[in-house]
Subunit: 634 residues, 2 copies
Amino acid sequence: MNATDIKRVLIGKPFPTSREIHERLDKTRALAVFASDPISSNAYATEAIMGVLIVLGSGALAMTLPLAMGVAALVLMVIFSYIQTILHYPDGGGAYTVAKDNLGMYPSLLAAGALLTDYILTVSVSVSAGVRALTSAVPEAFDYRIAIAVFAIALITWINLRGVRESGTVFAIPTYAFVAGVMLVIVIGLVRYTGLFGLEPLQEHHEVVEAERSVVGFAYIWLLLRAFAGGCTALTGIEAISNGVQAFKPPESKNAAKTMVAMGIIAMSLFVGITFLSTHMKLVPSHEDSILSQMTRGVTGGGFLYYWVQLFTALILFLAANTGYQDFPRLSSFLANDGFLPRWMKNRGDRLVFSSGIVVLALISSLIVVVFQADEIAMLPLYALGVMLSFTLSQAGMRRLMGEVGKLKPGETKFTGVTTIHFENGWRWKRWVNTVGSIVTGIVFVILITTKFIEGAWIVALAIPLLVWMFRSIHNHYKNVAEALTTERMAEEDLVDVANVAVVPIADIHRGTLRALQYAKRISSDVRAVAIATTPQMRQRIEERWARFPNLTTGVTLKIVDYDYRDILTPLVDYIEHVNQKEFPDKLITIVIPEFIPENMAARLLHNQTATILRARLRSTNDVIVIDVPYHIE
Amino acid sequence: MNATDIKRVLIGKPFPTSREIHERLDKTRALAVFASDPISSNAYATEAIMGVLIVLGSGALAMTLPLAMGVAALVLMVIFSYIQTILHYPDGGGAYTVAKDNLGMYPSLLAAGALLTDYILTVSVSVSAGVRALTSAVPEAFDYRIAIAVFAIALITWINLRGVRESGTVFAIPTYAFVAGVMLVIVIGLVRYTGLFGLEPLQEHHEVVEAERSVVGFAYIWLLLRAFAGGCTALTGIEAISNGVQAFKPPESKNAAKTMVAMGIIAMSLFVGITFLSTHMKLVPSHEDSILSQMTRGVTGGGFLYYWVQLFTALILFLAANTGYQDFPRLSSFLANDGFLPRWMKNRGDRLVFSSGIVVLALISSLIVVVFQADEIAMLPLYALGVMLSFTLSQAGMRRLMGEVGKLKPGETKFTGVTTIHFENGWRWKRWVNTVGSIVTGIVFVILITTKFIEGAWIVALAIPLLVWMFRSIHNHYKNVAEALTTERMAEEDLVDVANVAVVPIADIHRGTLRALQYAKRISSDVRAVAIATTPQMRQRIEERWARFPNLTTGVTLKIVDYDYRDILTPLVDYIEHVNQKEFPDKLITIVIPEFIPENMAARLLHNQTATILRARLRSTNDVIVIDVPYHIE
């Protein structure tokens, strides 16, 4: 069973290129596919706010609700602004595309770097949070959380490498089950809160945490800003619809816009509802038991509904991780196509998915899970940063685009290079929306990076510029290669001459070397057999055997170099370089290497790899053409 | 700093082959060089006997002395028998050589396998015992003994890779210092024992060990045999002189024989002396404190002389390990030269030493040290086995040789293939010595393997036949290769025809592919450019660019294969195999691969390794000549 067979078993047989199809989703299914990421943020967003406030003691947790409402307002504003993007980029308007189309290369690379880090973190954070939903319900599994998380990533990777298409129905079940479950918990919680229907009122959490410190003035505001920054993780994933407008049934843009609004309303209702109940119940963040788990247990008493919510929390989080597997490889392939990432990330694999992007994503996100020990709360300071930067850039791009729209006369159209625009009424107002969106998310980005810098945001603040630098370097490399290889302005005479010389390194005279000599004589009239003799016996032996094949050796120069060391490669390469640089400068010379190929790998260990090493050393020598004349044993 | 530079710093610059010289040793220095291994056995041989007897309690240790004297008698007999070998094989008569010359291939391979395992264990056992001599004196270091032992092996390996010659003087210091130190301790001990000169009588060890079991009859004899087998480790290394007769000043054989006798007398005096005093002092073996250390401390009171003995015990043991570094690579190179080990073990490295044999020895002996946790007493059951088998075979060979000597007429000489023999008086008597030697060591071998089987001898009993099987397989492989490559009975017309066809796989038309096409046209009039088009755009692009170079493409067939998968190698290899097997069966065909070489390793990661992978796949295809036409970027 060789490597190819193993691949077949794991991944399945290859799909033909023509099989590639685009599934169209109705709004119900589309909501499930695209909303799993933002809706699943509810598993940790409230907790991210509380985790900051708790240093002031249990009392300060009351500030969670106002902050959550601030986040919700931000979300609705971003959604409003993104609807513009959806309507103007019906073929998909990710931040990279919009920035490239309107702001130029560097802003687009900045957006790309931000999004790539965001997609990687989507996987790490969502999988870790999903595992925590499970270990909250089954505390015995807590010690194995890293292994479970890595296994979950491996499973999601495997499914994606097999190329199972985004199936709306499969996504719909956990998403709607999660929404329904949490909604039900919130409703029961509110009913118990109000004391209607004679239900037992909610119990307040008994644990009281003392303040670690008391702060006033600027320090207090700083803490509130940090808590707000934590809540901004609720914004991750809301840009996904703008990438996938083409997945909607016609009219694509309108359906996508409507779905985005519905998504925002659902996600924010859950967020505010969860936050309201948790703060009312005076819940305290705990490493082992998530806030959502504590709240659900408090409201339901820990029965069937509790396990339902925990199970579908885990599932929707794994689905959210899966969206990273859609977005990262797709954006990588765009970037590779534009020459900013290695070209092999552009190509689809056997199953028509971007396999290399999937594998790169799996490796990096697993590494993050291991480094952060599957603690998603510790990863959150890294998380919202990338998405906020891409919001800022994408909306700044939209602002520029609306300005272009305003310059057009009614009835006139213009192609920007990506999309077609025409005059619109109210363009000033729309531009104002994008301007405000860009400024607000820009301010939030600054808040995020300053308040979370020491906690880990510095990693992303370092990673994004490094990525941009890498994109540039790769781009320059490909540009150089293209220039070196281009046939533009090239006359056919430009090609380098081939010298009429063939050097045949030989260690002995046997059928393999004779075959190589025979071939060399066919292609050149100046054939030179070169042997390095490390002992007088070796010289004598070669001379004797040489004389036995007059037909073949006539007209061939035999050059035996006596050498007082055992490393025969050095004098061989020296001779070849002499021929190349002194005898035939500016021409291609030919080296014919006789190589006998043993019957199997074990047998290869029994032979000097002289031919292989020689070929590797000649690779770096310019203007040398290497001919392998193999001689198979058995 | 590349790999070659690092090698230069570590190993030093290469020596020319002509620098190889053979140092001649006088008897004093020769004794030091060759005797370090057998003399150093005194560090553990007594203990190996006691370690078995102790299960019967302290009282049974009294049997140590008679057993040690039995071992001493065996040693003297073996030495007596080996003198025959030295006199008849003046060029060096190791067991492998003698068995090959007299008994045939399989006995010689058996001897070779036995010796190789013995040499490996010489390193593991001697280094571990040397470290124990140090940790007996400095108990704090006991916990680090494995690391110290591995470091010592690394150091010895490094010294040997640099190729420091066996310097008689360097060897002489620790060997004679050890002998003098231990002799002095024995003399003081005997004086104190006899009570002469008014010295304080020796104190008896106070610790009394109860019998774990009491045995009678056969079980008792079995235990005595096991104890005797343990003592046989004192025999290891006494064959070394027979390998190195050429290192002596003339008359080589006579000097070697005299040295061997001196070595035997010194080694056995120490052995019997140490054993006598240890049993008289009622010492008990201990894991942390060796018997030699206990005895020396008891006799000297632990002062300067104690540390002197411990230090030179460690040093002589490291020298003994060093003899493994002389013997193993030399025997490996003999075997490689005869085609029983990989050919690269035959060659001397940059510093004229058999570098690959040294590295192989270092790796295996380190592994054993780690597995046995640097406990040489635990390794001893594996140790003497190989040496005893090689004694048996070598003396059986000598018996056969003496028979040949007896068949000659006085004055007649005969060349056996290795050595020249002539009639000798007393050949019957000499043959009888070898016969007895062979039988006795054969019996001891059977005792060793049966009594120590469960304790570890099974490993060697398994390893030696496996080695013989490996030697045979390697030999068969080289025989097959030689037969496939031989030019004997070969007419010049036997060479396979080269088909007048050149296939050029192309992915695009650029300077690299044009250069390859140009080269292909030079060497063939039937050039076929093959492109695999995975999209219609790709086909169109290639056709358009093709038309731009009429001079170059005229007369070249362009074959574009439409392919609905992304893996372009499969249809390419399919086409090449079709040309090879259908169009030109029984002929060599030529594939010209255009390959552009990026400027550095990092840049290589940015390109598909299609050319490399294609070349690797074509390697297994018979009758395909591969031409690499490189195009260097920058």
